[in-house]
Amino acid sequence: MDFNLTPEEAAFRDEVRAFLDENLDAAESERDMNWFGGWLKKVREKRWVGFSWPKEVGGGGGTVMQQVILKEEMAKRKAPPLGSCYMGLAWVGPSIIQYGNEEQKQKYIPDILDGTYQWCTGYSEPDSGSDLASLKCRCERDGDEYVVNGQKIWTSIAMISKMMILLVRTQTDVDVKHDGITCLLVEMDSPGIEVRPIKNMSGGAMFAEVFLTDVRVPVENRLGAEGGGWKVTVSALANERSSIAEVYGLTRKMEELKDLARDTERAGQRAIDIPSIRRRLQRAEIRIESMRLNGQRFLTKQLKGEPLGSETSINKLHRASLEVEMGELAMEITGSASTLMQGCDEAPEDGRWAKFALGWPEVVIGGGTPNIQKNIISERILGLPKD
C-alpha cells in the first residue's frame, strides 16, 4: 500500500493549487453570476470541463488519479463546479462518447462542454421506477423517423432543457425486458412534447413529468443500436455510481454542519458540546472517511485495470443514510427554529438547513433507492437468489 503521490502526481496537484490560488479571487459569498461566468470560461480554456473525457472530443484527457487530485483540491477550496451542463457532463456526454457516431459527437459534445444549453434524462416512467427496464414508452419506426408516444416522470430540469436523452421501447415481443429498449436524443421543442413541472416537498420544482404525443425523432438521433438502449444507459448509471466526487460534497457539507454546531447556542452551551450531538457528528464523519477510503480502494482496482462491479453500491448506501442523518442532525442542532423556512429572521441561515433536510430524496432516491442498492449487493456480490 502506498498513499503517497508520485512526483508527476504531486506536480499536477501543485499545478491545480496554483490555478485555484490565481482564479478563486473572490470569497464564496461574493461570487455572483458574472464571476461564475468568468470562472467557467477559465476552466474551459484549462480543459478541466470534461476533464476525464478524451482530448479528441475536446475533453482534458485526464487520468483517473488526476481526476481524484483535481476533485480533492477543488473540494478543499470550495471551488464552484467545472461546467454548467450538469446532466450533460454527468450522464449524456459519457454515453455519447462511448456509443455515439462521429456526427453525434461533433454535434453535441462541444455544447455540453461549453454549457451552451441544458440536457435532461428521460428514463423513469410512472410504472417503471426502480424496475427501469420495464419501461413502456412506445416507439415505432416510420421511414426515416421514430414516432414516440408515452410518459416520463421525475425528469430533472426538463423545463429548462433544450435536449433530452430518452429511453423508449422499440420492441415489445422480447424474452428479456432489457432487450427492445432504444436510446434517442430528442429536441425538447419538438411538437408533441409537454412538460409539467412537479412541485417537490421542499416547495421547489426541479423535476417534471414529460408527456410525449406523436413526437417525431429523426433516425439519425438514435444513440447506439436499435434495441441496444439498455447498454447505453447502464454505462451511464455505472458512471454515476463510481463517481468519487460525492464524498467531497459530503465532506464539505459536514464541515458546514460542524460550523453550525459550533455557532449554535442551546441552553447556554454550544450545540457541538452536547455529547449526543457530538457523537452523532463524529459517527457521520467516520462514515464519510470510510467512503473516501472505500473510493480509493475501488480506484486502486480501476488503476489496475479491473472493472468496477457492484461494490460501488457500498458508497451509495453510505451516502443515502448520511444525507438523511445530516439533515436530521441539522434539525437537532438548531432546535425549534429548525422548522422555519426561508424568509424570516428567525430561520437559521435563512432556512438553508430546513431546505437541506427536505432535499435528501433527490439524492437518496434518484439513481437507485437504498433498497435497490441492497438488492444489488446481496444478489450480485453475495449471490443470494433474486427476489
Partner: protein, 372 residues
C-alpha cells in the same frame, strides 16, 4: 497511490488460509479451546517456524522485519477461523521491547518471542477499566536500585499463558508519568491466571504483582505517549482480526440463507433477510478501508495514525457486535444453539468491543487528537 496488497502478501494470505483450513477448522477450534491453555502449542510452534509470529520483529532478533501491513494479512486469516492463540498479545509485548528497549534488552527477549518459546502480553488496564493515563495507578517504588511493583492488572489478554508481561506502571507524580517494565512469570510475587470469558477463543485474565522487584535492566524507556502508541497498535490489530471474523460470519449466514427453505423458498430470497446481509457487507468493506489505512499510517509513521486507528476501532466496536446479533437472528432457532457456529462470532464481537478501547473511548480520543 496504491490501496491494495502485493502479490507476495496475497501469496502469504493463501498460505495462512491453507494452514488454518487444514489445522484449525471451527470444529478443531472448538476442541482446542477446551484444553487448559486454550491454544495449541504444537500449531503455535509451527507458525513460529513459518515465521508468522516474528513477521514484524527485527531480523537481527530472529524476526522477518516486515511491516504490519503484511501482518494484517495473517490476522485477517486468524480472524476468519477464530484461531485461538496469543498472537496479538505476543506481538504487542515484542513491539514494546523493540521500540523502548535497549539493544541488550531486545537481544534478551525478542528471539524467544519471535520463535514462539515465550508468550508475551501487554498489561495496562487496572480495576478502573480506564485506558487513559490516569487509569494506571500501579506504582513503581524505587528501592535500592530496583523498582518494586505492587498491585493488580485486569483484563490482561492471555495472562494465564504468558511468560513475559510488559507492565504499565506509574513512574512519578505527573499525570502522564507512566512507563513500562518487563516482568517474567515465575519471578517472586508474580501470579497470573485466566478468568472464565464469554469468547472461549480469546483468553483473558488477571495479573497480580505482590512486591515484585524489577531490576533497572528490565525497565523500558517508554513514556505515556509510547504506551498509548501500543494501545493504538492493539486496537488496530484487533480491528484487523475482526475484519476476517466478520467476513466469515457473513459467509456463514449467507450460506445458511441460501440453504434454509421456508415458505417454499430459500430465505435468502426475502428482502428482510438479504438486506441485513447487504448492510453487513457495507460495514465490512468499510472496516477494511479504515483499518488498512490506519495500519499503513502506522507503518509509514504518518501523523494521522492514531486518528485513523480510532476511527476504525470506533466503527468496528459499534457495528460488529450488532452484526453478530443479526447473524444469530437470521439463523433463527438454530442460531443460538451451542452446535451452530454463528454464535461463536457473536461472542467474538462482544470480546472485541471493549478491547483496546470501546467506541466511546475512541470517539473521545478523536476529540483529544484535535478531531471533532
Amino acid at each position: 497511490m496504491n490501496f491494495g496488497f502485493t502479490e507476495e502478501q496475497e501469496l502469504l494470505r493463501a498460505e495462512v488460509r491453507k494452514f488454518l483450513d487444514q489445522n484449525a477448522s471451527l470444529e478443531e477450534v472448538r476442541k482446542i479451546v477446551e484444553s487448559d491453555e486454550g491454544f495449541d502449542r504444537h500449531l503455535w510452534n509451527r507458525m513460529a517456524e513459518l515465521g508468522w509470529i516474528g513477521l514484524t520483529m527485527p531480523e537481527a532478533q530472529g524476526g522477518m522485519g516486515l511491516g504490519f501491513e503484511t501482518f494484517l494479512v495473517v490476522l485477517e486469516e486468524t480472524g476468519r477461523s477464530l484461531f485461538p492463540s496469543p498472537l496479538i498479545s505476543t506481538l504487542l509485548a515484542a513491539r514494546a521491547i523493540e521500540r523502548f528497549g535497549s539493544e541488550a534488552q531486545q537481544a534478551r527477549w525478542l528471539p524467544g518471542l519471535a520463535n514462539g518459546e515465550t508468550i508475551g502480553t501487554l498489561a495496562v488496564l487496572e480495576e478502573s477499566d480506564d485506558w487513559s493515563s490516569s487509569g494506571v495507578r500501579l506504582e513503581g517504588k524505587r528501592d535500592g536500585g530496583e523498582t518494586i511493583l505492587s498491585g493488580a492488572k485486569h483484563f490482561v489478554p492471555d495472562a494465564g499463558n504468558a511468560g513475559l508481561f510488559v507492565v504499565a506502571y506509574r513512574s512519578g507524580a505527573d499525570p502522564e508519568a507512566v512507563s513500562l517494565a518487563v516482568v517474567e512469570e515465575g519471578a517472586d510475587g508474580v501470579a497470573a491466571g485466566h478468568l472464565p470469558a464469554m469468547d472461549l477463543t480469546k483468553r483473558l485474565g488477571k495479573l497480580d504483582l505482590d512486591d515484585v522487584r524489577v531490576a533497572d535492566d528490565a525497565l523500558l524507556a517508554a513514556d505515556w505517549a509510547g504506551v498509548q502508541s501500543l494501545i493504538d497498535l492493539g486496537a488496530a490489530l484487533v480491528t484487523a482480526e475482526t475484519v476476517g471474523a466478520a467476513e466469515r460470519a457473513l459467509e456463514i449466514t449467507t450460506e445458511f440463507a441460501k440453504q434454509r427453505i421456508q415458505f417454499d423458498s430459500p430465505i435468502g430470497r426475502y428482502q428482510g433477510v438479504k438486506h441485513p446481509l447487504a448492510e453487513m457487507f457495507v460495514d465490512i468493506e468499510s472496516y477494511k478501508s479504515l483499518v488498512y489505512y490506519a495500519i499503513w499510517a502506522i507503518d509509514a509513521g504518518d501523523d494521522v495514525a492514531p486518528l485513523a486507528v480510532s476511527r476504525a476501532k470506533a466503527y468496528v466496536s459499534e457495528t460488529f457486535p450488532m452484526a453478530g446479533i443479526s447473524g444469530v437472528q437470521l439463523h433463527g432457532g438454530v442460531g443460538f444453539t451451542w452446535e451452530y457456529d454463528i454464535q461463536l462470532f457473536l461472542k467474538r464481537g462482544k470480546w472485541m468491543r471493549p478491547m483496546f478501547g470501546d467506541a466511546d473511548y475512541h470517539y473521545d480520543r478523536i476529540a483529544d487528537l484535535g478531531g471533532l
